[in-house]
């Protein structure tokens, strides 16, 4: 039984969830993968400190479980009995986190360094909120529609006022129902007496 609080003040516990991340394509976690991890951590330490040459031997792993999880500590390249402080390791991991994740085809969630919280992704802030764009389109269409309908109503009224009979509903109704002076007449309206000067202007 492994205690959660291993007495390793300068060590970090790593937890890897291969099947969750990769499903069917999950590779097997074996000693080669552990070696790869050591190499990746050595790279991260080199990248951060830039002066000192870390090697795979400086990354010491222990307490491996089938979860997959294990602890690691980093020793100094000059003096293998001296451990690198936790804070420095954290800085190195944070700096190269993206590269480490990609090396193993994993993500922040499936390759966890317990105690090092992933930085939250900055939200994508578009210049104009998308909803304003949709709103603009809708309100533009509605305004155009209102103006168009109002103008066509106005034109219809003008035409009626000028006495030109509209082709369409009114004339048909007048012909069929024979409405004149508001009194219902039976029969069809005799167009022989309409004013059709507008047709013959000679």
């Amino acid at each position: 039984m492994v205690s959660k609080t291993l007495n390793a003040p300068n060590g970090y516990k790593v937890r890897i969830s291969l099947k969750t991340a990769l499903g069917e394509d999950a590779y097997e976690w074996n000693q080669s993968e552990m070696f790869f991890f050591q190499a990746t951590m050595a790279f991260a330490m080199r990248r951060h400190f830039q002066m000192e040459t870390y090697n795979v031997d400086n990354i010491i792993l222990c307490v491996q479980t089938s979860r997959v999880s294990f602890w690691f500590v980093v020793t100094s390249p000059d003096n293998t009995t001296m451990l690198i402080p936790k804070a420095d390791v954290e800085k190195a991991v944070r700096m190269s986190r993206h590269r480490i994740n990609n090396a193993f085809l994993l993500s922040d969630r499936t390759l966890e360094f317990l105690g090092i919280y992933p930085t939250l992704a900055a939200p994508v802030n578009p210049d104009t909120p998308p909803w304003l764009i949709v709103f603009g389109v809708v309100i533009g269409a509605v305004c155009v529609g209102i103006i168009a309908l109002l103008i066509s109503s106005l034109l219809q009224k003008r035409r009626k006022e000028k006495g030109m009979t509209e082709d369409g509903q009114d004339e048909e109704d007048m012909q069929v129902k024979g409405v004149e002076n508001g009194i219902n007449l039976d029969g069809t309206y005799n167009r022989g007496f309409t004013d059709d000067d507008r047709f013959t202007k000679l």
Binding site: T65, V134, V142
Partner: protein, 637 residues
Amino acid sequence: MQLCCFLSLSLPRAGLKQGPSEHIDNDHETSLPRPKWNNKAEYLLTCIGFAVGVGNVWRFPYLCQIYGGGAFLIPYLIALVFQGLPLLYLELAIGQRLRMGSIGVWNSISPYLGGVGVASMVVSFCVSLFYNTIVAWVLWYLFNSFQEPLPWSQCPLNHNNTGYVEECVESTPVNYFWYRKTLNITPNMETSGSLQWWMVVSLATAWSIVYICFIRGIETIGKAVYVTATFPYLVLTIFLVRALTLPGAYEGLIYLFTWEILKNPQVWLDAATQIFFSLSVAFGGLISFSSYNNQKNNCEKDAVLVGVINSATSIYASIPIFAILGFKAHTNYVSCLNGNILALTNDFDISDMNITVENYEQWFDSLNGTHPSRVSDLNLKTCDLQTFLDQSASGTGLAFIVFTEAVISMPGSQVWAVLFFIMLFSLGLSSMFGNLEGVLTPLHDLKLVPKWMPNELFTAIICLLLFLMALIFCLGSGNYWLEIFNSYVGSVPFLIIAFFEIIAVAYIYGIGRFSDDLEFMTGHRPNIFWKVCWLVISPLMLFVVLVAYVAVQAQTPPTYAAWNPDYVNFPDTEVLPYPDWVFAICVLLSSVPVISIPLVAIYRLICCMSGRHSKDSLHNDPNPYANEDYVVERARP
């Protein structure tokens, strides 16, 4: 003397059998013919669209869920047949016969009951105010559905990007988006907050769309309803097909088929009120719509059709709603289990994905048997599918919280969100047509419109006035006010108006006269079922429902649920009592619309007794069929 007044004031049977079959129906002030529907389909679609509203989607399924579908449908259908259909038939018939809006119609039937029309107009006005605000909320969500990822799917970061906003973490992203990003709600009603500009913008859009549909009266409405009345059915069918293929749909549908004994008397009250409010009677809108009809139209068939389609739509809408609620419960259950699985896997260092949803129980039992203290230290949540299924919601909670959460888990969330909100928008818009028609047509018939003002301008003024008054719902406390309007205006006044309507037609107008009218219009007299309903059953049911409703309301303390992030039990809502001034407003909202009924009656009585208006009433409310040569002049004492 009073008898004399009554007789001279009530209009004679204006040319029912001996009148001309064709008629002149001119609006006397403009000598324009009364507008009429282009075809029967437009009229039916408009009535169906008015009746079928957002309540069919978010109130009916909720009632089915809490009472059990099978148990609720029985009182619902009984209420439809004995209360809903007679009222519907009555309204369509008198509108079609008397060819006026609600005020004109009730003035014609009996000038003492002219107040019923005024009350209808006032409640339609109040309902238009808050109903279009709901449409504005739907538009806001619709505008926000065109994003990837959906804004209610994740919490936003706080201002120094170190973590998520606390209010969102403690509740859920969906709740946060609704209460904070949409409403920006204040912790209580006393704090009014400020106008939320995005809400004002959405409200302006909603009123503009309503205006453009109303610009030319029923000419443009008739075109618009081809889309707004039919589109919801298309979307419901798409959702039905999609929802039935989702995991967990079957568990959700169980609710529709549960059958409990009708032991709870509350179910009858809820069924009767649901049918009543769902059919949108007593608004005056149906009277207005049928007044544009040809007189020789079979309104009996129309009434039965509209009523049946309305109920069928409710039942049809429940199926995808329940399926999706079942899917949501299933998703919540699986993620609850996955949280437990992860905790167990990490603590016991078990190989990844060895514990699955299927074998969770066995693993849990074996681990609990060997290491009970460690397992209990993990504080695993109890995941029960039934608990998730029992979470019910109605109204805005269903649409904007529960459904939006379900949509996030569906593949292609944006499409489903857009479809859902367009459907809600269509449902709301077609109901708004009826609401606003119940306001505009009486004003036209009362000849309150100056002759120089074109109709388009008058409609614009009314829409602008309603928009400005509805800005109160865009304040921080707007949602609380909307709930008040919904509960106090949108309930008791309608029951009272409908009760007076049916009494007026059945007893004051006379069932005999009404049957003659119906024979003129439909070609046959109404059968015994309708007469018994109008005379006895429907008024009795309405009266009982009214009394029971008021009694139940009087027993529930006047409180409201407030969203207060500083509350001890946040994210639960805090239950606060209404302040006194707010409660006074509630009482006013319930009583002012219906106060016009006795007021107008008393006014007419006073005027009649002083003998001034006895002749003028005939000229004030000209019934085109009132051929004044045939009025019997009673000798005035």
